[in-house]
Amino acid sequence: MNRIDQKFKELKTKKRKAFIAFITAGDPDLKTTEDLVVSLEGVGVDIIEIGIPFSDPLADGPTIQASFFRALSKGTTVKKILETVKRIRLKSSIPIAFMTSYNPILRFGEEKFLKACVDVGIDGLIVPDLPPEEAKNLCSLAEGYDLSTIFFVAPTSTDERIKSNTKASSGFVYYVSLTGITGTQKAVAQTVVKKINHIKRFTDKPVCVGFGISTPEQVKVIGRAADGVIVGSAIVRVIEQNKGNKNLVPAVSHYVSSLVKALR
């Protein structure tokens, strides 16, 4: 049982929901990424998603794309990110999943990448442009390494797809709350809650909701129905706004803390 599974087990006994925070590795630099993970764990974040930047992300909105660009222009590479995670692991045992496009993994070599992930203490993978149909090899390798492979369900997913995607998922299931790309949008409809309940008819695995969540109110509403709430673009925007500010880490942690509190 890896750290993600353990976390959900622990949360279940405590009758709590998971708060999952996304940050881009190397935005604004890898030292800050390292400090952010430790600080976010301190304010109660349950799971961290670390984005490996990609030059041409299809499934991410302009905010995350811009953060990828900032990270890449600083010379952030997969190898350097792996080293950063290794350093984080000296200070923190928070569950960490990598989120990235498929091409950096393919280029690194699937098996070599998974092995490197396990070696530095990564617990799961989220690859938005890799549907389960194309992930068979990756999934069977990941299973051997006890790495979670987290797949998506979208508002457009048919029941057939909900069934197969939840089956292929391990760790948790990622529900994309808005039909669309990531980005902070005000309307988080009540229909999301209905949809979560619908997905839960197909699986016992934790269902977490992401995309378009930015306020404590939204976190609260979604947290009632989902097993976890994922916030990405909104956090990345605060990082962007505090670029060059030596108090970046406390500022981001303060914002995230306000969201985490809404779940408790």
């Binding site: 990609f54 950096p104 549907p131 998506f152 994309v176 039909t179």
Partner: protein, 399 residues
């Protein structure tokens, strides 16, 4: 000589051509791609659709296009008899209209009211805006800001026909970035929107669908050539960016094993520099824009910025079926530099009174190299994929 009925073996049911292709899409698009595939399979067999499509190709686009024997060019090249498949004479000035008419008819059958497209040189954008105007559908075209600058004439054409052109400022501000933005739009507006992809690239079933709509080029050319020469040609020649005109010409000849296929990639400033678009020659296996193919990328899997004087070839990827042809050696892929392409353009203009597009000029330029290695009296069909009117601003400095 009768064309054997070609079994449509590829792609396989998962959208693969050998080890290339597939459907690497965000979950939001997966169901709609499956629905598109299903509907497209049904439409393909539907006789009324076929009739409707053929009627638009004939009455509106101007098919069949001529297979023209280039007498003076052939005399100049000495060893080669050159036939030009005149896609440049189609409405809108390039082969792109074949595909956009096909896809817009599919969109109509699926009840979609909003059309989006990406464009590089602007030819696909113009062809999409044209088809959208013809059917009264709303049309949004994403175009790299760099391309908006160098292909301003096509921007005016699209606007005149009522399309909204959105300049894309991210990344290299060229075709790949336009495609990123178009996909993002589609993910957000998938309910009412149909995405018309312009090349044999993207998520399954797009590479197959675009190929099918473009394969009319090769079917006609094969028949026309047989009628004129009573044999099959020795060579087929076409430029390759994403690869739609090349695949359109090649596909009908796939089983004619004596016919050698040559795709011409853009070498830009040279394949040994970092400024080229020679994906098959210099790239590595990767996934971009929905399919597994060859890509220009660095050791970390980041996509490299392509370069070509021809905006339509300025793309770091290539259609998966070309990667398969390359891998299985069914076709050969060569390169032509920016400089050579300009010479090719001038050559055709002076010898035949035909000004080809800069993209097409790459194929023309390779004729000189082919002539030096071909046996005497060899025959070649060149896909004259587009005309050069759109490039006049850009090439005025070379005249």
């Amino acid at each position: 000589m009768k064309n054997k009925v070609m079994k449509q073996l590829l792609p396989d049911k998962n959208g693969y051509y050998g080890s290339f292709g597939g459907r690497f899409a965000p979950e939001t698009l997966m169901a709609v791609l499956a629905q598109l595939e299903k509907q497209y399979q049904a439409i393909k067999k539907d006789k009324t659709f076929k009739k409707e499509f053929e009627s638009y190709l004939k009455e509106y686009a101007g098919r069949p296009t001529n297979l023209y024997f280039a007498r003076r060019l052939s005399a100049h090249l000495k060893t080669l008899k050159v036939y030009l498949k005149r896609e440049d004479l189609l409405h809108t000035g390039a082969h792109k209209i074949n595909n956009t008419l096909g896809q817009i008819l599919v969109a109509r059958r699926m009840g979609k009211t909003r059309i989006i497209a990406e464009t590089g040189a602007g030819q696909h954008g113009v062809a999409t805006a044209t088809a959208a105007a013809l059917f009264g559908l709303k049309c949004i075209v994403y175009m790299g800001a760099e391309d908006v600058k160098r292909q301003s004439l096509n921007v005016y054409r699209m606007k005149l026909m009522g399309a909204q052109v959105i300049p894309v400022e991210s990344g290299s501000k060229t075709l790949k970035d336009a495609m990123n933005e178009a996909v993002r739009d589609w993910v957000t507006n998938v309910a009412d929107t149909f995405y018309i992809i312009g090349s044999v690239a993207g998520f399954h079933p797009y590479p197959a669908m675009v190929r099918d709509f473009q394969s009319v080029i090769g079917r006609e050319a094969r028949q026309q050539f047989l009628a004129k020469e009573n044999k099959l040609p020795n060579y087929l020649l076409a430029c390759v960016g994403g690869g739609s005109n090349a695949m359109g010409l090649f596909h009908a000849f796939y089983n004619d094993k004596t016919v050698k296929m040559i795709g011409v990639e853009a070498a830009g400033h040279g394949v040994d520099t970092h400024e080229h678009s020679a994906t098959l020659n210099k790239g590595a296996v990767g996934v971009l824009h929905g399919s597994k193919s060859m890509l220009l990328q660095d050791n970390d899997g980041q996509i490299q910025i392509a370069h070509s004087i021809a905006a339509g070839l300025d793309y770091p990827g290539v259609g998966p079926e070309h990667a398969f042809y390359h891998d299985s050696k069914r076709a050969e892929y060569v390169t032509i530099t920016d400089k050579e392409a300009i010479e090719g353009l001038k050559l055709l203009a002076r010898l035949e009174g035909i000004i080809p597009a800069l993209e097409t000029s790459h194929a023309i330029a390779y004729l000189q190299k082919l002539a030096s290695r071909a046996k005497k009296n060899s025959t070649v069909i060149v896909c004259l994929s587009g005309r050069g009117d759109k490039d006049m601003n850009q090439i005025s400095q070379f005249i």
